[in-house]
Subunit: 258 residues, 4 copies
């Protein structure tokens, strides 16, 4: 099967870009069996709302994964409970609304998606390695995609090696800068340290330079504003073996609108 | 001279407590030449506003020091520029509104107050040690009080030893829990690692247990609410030698309303 | 029963001080049913060794608790597995040598000791709140002491409130500065945010000022040296109801040698 | 002029790889006017020694930049003072051995190199933005390369925009994973968020998986070992206008030995 995974969709510019590019991607890379997008920043850079989630689904997104920002807007919490297409990291503790794992079926094909979050330089939550061990056993699908939302390159790389041969792909999100280290690991797992951000790249990881620089220069908090310049869609296209779940290839996308 | 320093005044409960206790403190500890209070949490737990600052001044506070929360409410920024009785940490970088140092005169006595902030586990700003070196030279007053607003016990202790003999007192704030290590250091500087918080101690460092515990159990952000139970005023009374600036004594106060 | 809990014993000066003070403590506070000491810094400031543990036991210590530094010396790992009197935080993940909980019996009295570690500003490990929930059920003793080794005052305070009524005492360690907020909480649990350090207080939380200040001024790592000046033993004496496990009193000790 | 900048050279595998690849790079990309390499991990993954620095120079490296690990081996400190070809981040405070800026001349061409370090999730040192402002004024050379050694993608990106038009290139190091966002910014400054690591990529950012995974699973510190598998040289080739200092192009290199 062919899967498109789209990195952190950033606010309105990210959503509009995604909507406008899906046709081109399908025509260039061929039919997509599943589209998964990280949506933690989809609502004005912070979290999710119901209309924003709908907008992503209308683009053709089948599953929206999350991260630390998923919880920024309180209205997202009931959505997470209600809609199985919305995921948040599975290693948030028991009692947190929503789910971190789903198995999705389309046209007779099944894809498991597991969302995890790192802990280095991040909020202390449950161990992503052990959570992966616990959850993977329960997935009745050979093809499994893992979105690991993490700051430290080391933690994402280690998790990919830890899961190599057990899942189809380990794709990092959160830093908003695409890395260039894609590969299929020896056990058959596709890996990329960070898929990068979908939105305006002209500023600072999705926010305008003008709104970010004061905090860096002064230490005083400031309201960040979503950047609309230099739009780019950052994603990967995965080819997975339907029978074995092994990744056949991983290709990075870093697309500007025409 | 006799100086009262009041630890982080927490929201309305802290302000009301302070107002109600000043008479008792003056009658029990004698006339106070200066009253200094850390006000970073005075406005509903986050920052300062003009009416809140006025309320502190009406209690008899001469100088309001600050910390990381001083900047939480944008309306505080012009106040900091306008009113020399309001300080924020001096080691915030150039360009930050307000000032971190003041020399105050009352009844022929002069007190310098220097506000600093730590960096361990905190926002990266300028070095508090070097900022102290630079600023202390410009103070024309033998008595100088330093409020060092910091998380790490090591950083506060080291700064006290670094400044021993150069200032009258180094008093820590920020952790909201009073420490029991008050002493006059060999060079004549009074020291306490943390003065503690003035407000409701029945919850978690000034916020209600009910509003804090969800974040600790789940990792999901939550709105904190100011605690109103178990009111205590945390402060120190300093006796300083007017000529030499040396501390003669430091006494911790941890007072409940009668 | 009467229990003495001794805060982080710092290197040789801490061990010698403890040895020299036990007689005076027993004569002044009366017979001690159990003595528990945090030993994470007992071996030259970093970790434990077999001879150092023996030295603590010879002082009359019944149980040695730990923290982040417990693992500094590799030779401690087999000790932790072998000797049930040595604890390390219980919320280190499965697979870590040693244990975090023990029930100790002496003269017909039983004391449970649970060691936990915080996560704010510390290594990401398992949740101390849920670990406490899981472990407390298995303790067949009404009197239970919890050593929570943590940096953030908020996390220690919240854990004490979380466990109030379920354990006899929640005592903080790790910051090396004794706090002044001891109390018996409404549910009967004795609490102190940090017991403080046992060793030389003349420097910076147990290390010499001369060895610590270069790192703070320059950012360049430096070898820390154990401080031998201004020796103080920081501890608490707890009176517990043998039947109910409720704390009857908590008294802070901050003792200098005579 | 043409400049090769090589990302963090990791231990012996990294040094050997660099030595073996320089000929191929020169033959493929043409003569190199300057070669700059980040050497903070060159000595067994941690710091520098005199023989290791010599080995880098023998490869054709003209300037060795540094980072947080530069200070890991005490023997590096006098080297930094003595040899102007060795840099460490310029925003370490006054009093730190060595220098953070050099202007190098070869065959009548001059290149300024400025080394900076980030602060987000890193040691608190001086502000890299203001240090850049202060130091750039003193450079008498149109072509200036900045190595910003930092964890957070936001800080590196912001610094690049801050310096756009004032330097020839802002190249990130430290995360050991090459990013895919190279560009020449509007003002003429070449930018890449992270150049990536030169050494064994088969493990976890330069260390073996076997030596890194225990710490991630257990929280217990462990000795890391340099990885020798999947050797790759990560670097960029810059074409700079000698007159204006503007970058004409930036090309990422991610080379395996033949
Ligand atoms: Fe994001
Ligand atoms: Fe994120
Ligand atoms: Fe505060
Ligand atoms: Fe604060
Ligand atoms: Fe300790
Ligand atoms: Fe500790
Ligand atoms: Fe490095
Ligand atoms: Fe580094």
């Amino acid at each position: 099967m062919r899967v498109l995974f789209v990195g952190d969709v950033m606010g309105r510019p990210g959503r509009k870009l995604l909507a406008s590019m899906m046709g081109r991607i399908r025509s260039q890379w061929g039919p997509l069996d599943f589209v998964v997008a990280n949506g933690e920043n989809a609502a004005a850079g912070f979290g999710l709302t119901a209309p924003v989630a709908e907008e992503l689904f209308r683009c053709g997104v089948d599953v929206v994964t999350g991260g630390n920002h998923t919880f920024d807007k309180k209205e997202a919490l009931p959505l997470l409970d209600r809609d199985p297409r919305l995921l948040r990291p599975a290693n948030y503790p028991p009692g947190v609304p929503g789910r971190g794992l789903g198995v999705y079926e389309k046209n007779g094909r099944r894809l498991g998606v597991l969302n995890l979050q790192g802990r280095a330089f991040q909020t202390p939550i449950d161990c992503p390695f052990r959570t992966a061990d616990e959850r993977l056993g329960g997935i009745d699908a050979p093809c499994i995609l893992v979105d690991v939302h993490a700051e430290a390159t080391s933690e994402k790389r280690a998790l990919a090696l830890y899961l190599d041969g057990r899942v189809s792909a380990v794709l990092g999100t959160h830093t908003h800068v695409q890395t260039a280290d894609e590969e299929v690991l020896p056990g058959g797992t596709a890996y990329l340290n960070d898929v990068g951000m979908t939105g305006g790249h002209g500023g600072v990881i999705g926010m305008t330079y003008a709104s970010v620089i004061p905090k860096l220069l002064t230490g005083v908090p400031n309201k960040f504003e979503v950047c609309e310049d230099d739009l780019r869609l950052c994603a990967v296209v995965l080819e997975l073996d339907d029978e074995t779940g092994r990744a056949l290839s991983i290709e990075r996308l870093n697309l500007r609108p025409e």
